[in-house]
């Protein structure tokens, strides 16, 4: 299974196996990763699963809806901002590293 590393603001990290087809948000929730709220459960409706992609070249592009929601994140949008509910895990995304922002609401 491809691995994803979730890094917190204090530098601590958790690396977990993410089933292909799961979103980065789902994997975070089901592994008790702090700082991913995902109030809407993955509907691209709340912008509370924001992450910064530190290392990961092969991500799907940002669709219009995600791009709009990224304008509304609680922590500042940066060029590497994504909504973790919109990134579905693929085999070639192994080694992905994401940083969790300081706040989601």
């Amino acid at each position: 299974m491809p691995k994803v590393t979730y890094r917190q603001q204090d530098g601590s990290e958790q690396t977990i196996d993410v089933p292909v087809g799961w979103s980065l948000m789902e994997a975070a929730i089901q592994n008790n990763i702090a700082g991913i709220i995902a109030e809407c459960g993955g509907g691209c409706a709340c912008a509370t699963c924001h992450v910064y992609v530190v290392d990961g070249a092969k991500l799907p592009p940002i669709a219009d809806m995600e791009g709009d929601m990224l304008e509304c994140t609680a922590a500042e949008r940066q060029p590497n901002s994504r909504l973790s509910c919109q990134i579905k895990m693929a085999a070639d995304m192994d080694g992905l590293v994401v940083l969790i922002p300081a706040r989601q609401t």
Binding site: N32, G43, A45, C72
Partner: protein, 409 residues
């Protein structure tokens, strides 16, 4: 806290889970018990009428938190546990199993249950509803084998189910008693857009049409409408609303009125008992009136106030209500409560499938429906929360950037 009776949360849905989480985050270290009458740990309900019905989303992916979370947080979860009565004088619950549990604080997050269809023949028609995970699993399986589906009720649930059924290639007739869709929630132009959307996808949409009776013969159901038309289908789904589960509270002598009555801090009339989520008739700090809301937002935000009240703090529940619905490729997001209103202003072009409708009452913005306009939805939530003035003229002018306005730019 050692030796003290636990805080008990009744209801293992989104609100019950949030109350437990907020109690722990708020510093409560004592015994915490979560009682649920279903077989599953707390899960998300919204996908049950959406993606879950396609059968591509496993039930474990709906869990709000994994089992390990409850162990880590020392939350004592009891599933398949039904509470029969609350003895407030003795601070004790009695479970269906006969067990008695003492509490030091109590949270009621009992949610709602479906309103059943009661027309003649309904009891024999194996009607599907969407409320629990078990309902969703049963409906997902039935949809696989169905050819023709009748959906009774043109609210969020019925429309979402109709959309999924069409996407799976089923023939769908949707029967709505009112003259327009989602009439309780949105303006006529939004209702009209959705009627066209569903018709465009091949749903037969019947408005202003009731169901008089259902006849079931050999697994086939014939729905007889108020206009005398008959539709023979092999699956019926009804989404005609829910009723709050307030009987337990009522029997315990707590005030109930279309739900369990709570103040703006989620407190009942008993200082040891709070309530949150779909089951409450509450004083809404944002709306400044009493209301019952059925939504994730309400379940989560009111739960935070309920937990604070149990910890002896007061945290007024004052959040902008928001809702969403996914149908086909259109995401409807609602900010605030647009009903009732005296002016509805269209923002954008309906034919583009991406627009908003802004609702005003006495010249004040009270709600915004956004269709595939998530940024406008988020801006609307901010504008409403801040009370930033917005005129009807500004609302209708797409050159006015709502987010910039919300940010004071």
């Amino acid at each position: 806290m050692t030796g003290k009776a636990p805080i008990i949360v009744i209801g293992a849905g989104q609100s019950g889970q949030q109350i437990c989480d907020s109690l722990r985050k708020g510093g409560y270290e004592g015994h915490l018990m979560l009682l649920g009458d279903e077989a599953s740990l707390p899960y998300q309900r919204p996908p049950l009428s959406k993606k879950f019905l396609t059968g591509t989303l496993e039930a474990e992916r709906l869990l709000l938190r994994p089992a390990s979370y409850y162990e880590q947080q020392k939350i004592d979860v009891h599933l398949n546990a039904r509470v029969d009565s609350i003895d407030r004088a003795a601070c004790r619950l009695r479970l269906r199993s006969g067990e008695a549990l003492a509490y030091s604080g109590l949270a009621l997050a009992t949610g709602t249950r479906i309103r059943p269809l009661t027309v003649p023949g309904a009891a024999d028609a194996n009607i599907h509803y969407v409320r629990s995970l078990a309902d969703g699993e049963r409906l997902a399986a039935a949809l696989k084998n169905a050819r023709r589906v009748a959906v009774i009720g043109g609210g969020f649930i019925g429309l979402e189910v109709a959309a999924i059924a069409r996407e799976q290639g089923r023939e769908v007739v949707l029967i709505e008693a009112f003259e327009r869709l989602m009439a309780r929630a949105v303006a006529p132009q939004v209702s009209a857009f959705y009627a066209e959307l569903h018709r465009g996808h091949g749903v037969e949409v019947l408005l202003g049409t009731g169901v008089d009776a259902i006849r079931t013969v050999a697994g086939e159901h014939t729905v007889v409408t108020s206009t005398g038309a008959e539709y023979t289908v092999d699956l019926i789904v009804a989404g005609i609303g829910v009723v709050p589960n307030s009987e337990l509270a009522e029997a315990a002598g707590l005030a109930c009125r279309n739900g369990i009555v709570v103040d703006d801090c989620a407190r009942t009339s008993d200082p040891l008992i709070v309530a949150a989520g779909d089951c409450t008739w509450h004083m809404n700090g944002f709306l400044q009136r009493e209301i019952r809301l059925e939504s994730v937002q309400n379940a989560v935000d009111q739960a935070k106030s309920a937990a604070a009240s149990l910890l002896g703090q007061s945290s007024v529940y004052c959040q902008v209500p928001w809702f969403w619905s996914d149908q086909y490729d259109i995401k409807l997001q609602i900010a605030g409560i647009g009903m009732p209103h005296d002016q509805a202003v269209l923002r954008g072009d309906v034919s583009s499938g991406a627009f908003s409708v802004c609702y005003f009452r006495d010249g004040v913005l009270v709600g915004v429906d956004s269709l595939n306009k998530p940024a406008e939805h988020m801006a609307a939530r901010k504008l409403l929360a801040q009370g930033t003035p917005l005129s009807a003229a500004q609302a209708g002018d797409t050159s006015v950037d709502l987010m910039q306005l919300a940010r004071g730019a």
